[in-house]
């Protein structure tokens, strides 16, 4: 028998979270799906690696949209519905924020009481008296927007319903997180606003240009349901989905690089792999960025309309990642580490400043430190600490890096990050490193081939908010049968969000199929 069938209903390029989610959803509707992944593992950057017999997380890992078993959030429900078996572990706190110059040091926890008050509001009140009511109101607003977005994900609503049931979303959709905080919560102090801005890094967009819808989605989710990691590391999410895809009849193939997307008369007709296999299909769900797709994958080139290039060229790239992943030979308490995730800066909290620092190498002052022990204690050997330090720079910071200075650059800036965290902890982490890996935009590109090592797709700024993207979805479809399926798509970045992106891509394809039938 041949390796492939002659044709499939859908070929999914990229076996990461979005691609596998898309494949599962299509398979659940009886479609014949082939997933082609160029790497030998599923999951893209939702993966892990083993060093010295110890497994370590490769990603800034924290799943949203899971929630407790008793009160599941949408992604837990979706994964359950798809029968994806993942053992979830709850992260104890939402986050710690330490801003030295601001004198901010606070630990916030998720949790909403039935009377609409929030645990985090009390925690902030304890340090900044008088802010409780406003924080409660802000978090309630976030939750309502979050619920509206989730509802609208799956339902078509009338104008009347929209105004009646989703007023908060309608009111805030056109504004940034900063605009909404300033106009609707004028009494919130600057420091409290800073404390409530910490998650900006999960979108890689500073607060003044971060759409409130996106901000509210993050806050509404994480602050109510908390965050989760998989017992078997991020790789468990990926393998559980891979496993489930195969059970559902999806053909999953690894080590298969799709070189060309074949197009005729503006319509997808198939794909060709580097091995030379030509596979027919009328639909392609693509993890490669539009830049890569239009720039070098469409065959023949004449099938790419100038508008497609306009779109790809105009989209501003969001962040990539620079991570130092370490196994340390001491317990967290011995290293003065007490929480799972800490956002920290030496200078005053200013998200625009932090974001701009990412254009160049070094001097990065908003670091995310994740200590796996607190969420997944059985995943770390006794007496050790599994720690990662991450900054999310823009891809352009690597413009001057070459093969000759790459290793030097890697070590230099990883060293700066280690020293900065050491300084905050009052413990020299360099004296404890048993294993270390440094991940850069080049690492991302090596394992995923994603355009410019991007991890978050295009900037999720005001012009590009989910609302604007949604309003434009048909206008930005340039080749029939070709659907984006990754963080450059509608809902943006994040692991749970990408699972949802895949689901949305599948629904787009299903709707199109129906129309064509």
């Amino acid at each position: 028998m041949a390796i492939y069938k002659d044709s499939y209903d859908v070929v999914v390029i990229g076996g990461a979270l979005a691609g596998m989610s898309c494949a599962m959803k299509l398979a659940s509707e009886g479609k014949d799906v082939l997933v082609l992944e160029r790497h030998n593992l599923p999951g893209g950057i939702a993966t892990s690696f083993v060093r010295g017999g110890v497994e370590m997380e490769a990603t800034l890992h924290e799943m949203m949209s899971i929630g407790p078993e008793s009160d599941p959030l949408p992604m837990r429900r979706y994964l359950d519905e798809m029968k994806v078996a993942i053992r979830w572990l709850r992260v104890p706190e939402a986050y710690d924020l330490v801003s030295q110059e601001d004198g901010i040091a606070i630990s916030l926890h998720a949790g909403r009481r039935s009377d609409g008050t929030w645990v985090a509001a009390d925690e902030i009140e304890a340090l900044y008296p008088g802010s409780r009511d406003d924080v409660n109101r802000l978090l309630e607003l976030c939750r309502k927007v979050y619920e509206s977005v989730n509802y609208l994900n799956d339902h078509t609503v009338s104008k009347l319903q929209m105004l009646r049931d989703h007023e908060e979303l309608v009111k805030t959709a056109g504004y940034s997180a900063k605009e909404v905080m300033n106009t609707m919560f004028p009494k919130l102090s600057a420091k409290v606003k800073k404390i409530l801005s910490a998650y900006w890094i999960y979108v890689g967009q500073p607060i003044p240009t971060l759409p409130f819808t996106v901000y509210a989605f993050l806050m509404g989710d994480y602050m109510s349901g908390g965050s989760y990691v998989a017992r078997g590391f991020s790789h468990e999410m990926s393998v559980a989905m891979e496993h489930r895809c195969e059970q559902m009849g999806v053909q999953m193939e690894f080590g298969q690089n799709v070189e060309k997307i074949l197009v005729k008369n503006g319509r997808v007709t198939g794909v060709r792999t580097s091995r030379g296999d030509e596979i027919a299909c009328r639909y392609v769900a693509s993890a490669p960025y539009p830049n890569t797709v239009y720039g070098k994958m469409i065959e023949p080139k004449s099938e790419v309309p100038p508008e497609a290039f306009r779109y790809a060229n105009a989209m501003p790239m969001s962040v990539s990642c620079f991570s130092v992943v370490m196994l340390l030979d001491a317990r967290p308490e011995e290293l003065n580490i007490h929480s799972y995730s800490v956002f920290s800066s030496e200078t005053a909290m200013n998200t625009v400043k932090f974001w701009k620092q990412g254009r160049k190498l070094g001097g990065w002052d908003y670091l995310t430190t994740i200590c796996l022990n607190f969420a997944n204690p059985d995943g770390v050997p006794d007496g050790m600490t599994s720690l990662s330090i991450t900054y999310l720079p823009l891809p352009e910071c690597f413009d001057e890096v070459t093969a000759d200075n790459y290793f030097e650059v890697k070590r230099k800036y990883a060293g700066e990050m280690i020293d900065q965290v050491s300084c905050r902890l009052g413990v020299n982490l360099r004296d404890h490193i048993a294993e270390i890996e440094i991940e850069t935009p080049v690492t991302i590109s090596h394992y995923t081939s994603d355009y410019r090592g991007g991890i978050y797709g295009y900037q999720h700024n005001m012009q590009n908010s989910i609302v604007a993207r949604l309003a434009d979805i048909e206008r930005t479809t340039y080749i029939r049968g070709l659907v984006s399926c990754a963080s450059h798509q509608l809902a943006g970045d994040g692991m749970a969000v990408n699972m949802n992106n895949g689901r949305i891509a599948a629904m787009q394809i299903l709707a199109e199929m129906k129309k064509e039938a």
Partner: protein
Amino acid sequence: MKVEGFLKDVTGASRVTRARHRLIDSGSPQNLYHDHIRELAEELHPKETRVRVTRVEDVSKTARKFTFEAAEGSILPPFQAGQYVSLDLAIPDGEGKTVRTARPFSICSAPFQARQKEKPFFELTIRDGRPGEGFASGYMYNSCRVGDVFTAHLPFGQFYYESLRDAKQVVALAGGSGITPFYSMAQEIAHGTLDCSLTILYGSVRADDIILEKQIREIRCPRVRFVNVISGDPDYPGEKGYLSADLIRKYTEGDPADGGTSYFVCGPLPMYRFVESELKKLGVPKRRIRMEVFGAPRDITKDPDYPAREPEIFRLTVYRGLEETVINASSLEPLAVALERAGVPNQTRCRSGACGYCRCKLLKGDVFVPSAGDGRRYADRKFGYVHACSTYPLSDCAIKIPIC
């Protein structure tokens, strides 16, 4: 989400939508695709590198050093001293067939030599295979000639000096062909591009087993020290015996327990077991010990966890995509070897169970995975994935392998 028409009516939303239209219209209609980071990733990790043998030199009675330069169309990527290359090999099996396989070899030349302007190269030192083992190294030793062209994959491996992690003082504990990564490190130190000191303690049975002795002696650098330790000749004038705790202490500046020295170990499997316990006796902190992976065990039945049983030939059903092939698989050999013997295209890199390049899904059957060669991730174990290079069949099996 189906509210497009409506969202356009909302004041704020229409503001952002108009802004997005302006943004898209501002883009150039030309193909401006350029990805510097992708190019850099491909330069650092080329999918494959074609290389040609340009020199062959005897470096002991039973070992040869092979010099490789990039063949037309290829460029040697940078690597770090201690990393390895995987060579694709096509070896006649003596019965008229050719076995396609791959072997990892530590690079013994220095990284700077692969990046120099004039004739960049890398070198591998390969020892003749002993009867019944060393199938591929024996073939390379005896048959590889100047002018031969190979497909190489590099760089791989984590056995290199990492300045953020390792101590400035390194003591290398080498045995047999395990000397090769340290020759690479020594030259890089002498060249001034690796900032640490290196004392090589090299255990051999007899003086004429020593590999690369002349070459290492020629390195003139106060930061590199080379000590042979001979176990099988009571009359040897230098250090005698094994790489014992006493010997290691003698060549360590300061107390081995204080963390001021990193120990790098590379050699045959029995040496690891011995050296590991010696380092433990000395109280060396675990983070100061780096061990190179050591290949498949010569006799899997000697593994203490191996279930007692007679050798057997099993049926192995292999899926590559939708293609199904049934082949024989010996209980004494890893699945990867069964695939190679049967001519099923398959790829390996480390051949030690570590790198996961040969990860495949076990659909049916019982297997044995030696704990020393089990580099699998937690979830892979949970969902039944194995690394073919370190998995031995205990029954008829079915696996799904990546297409290559």
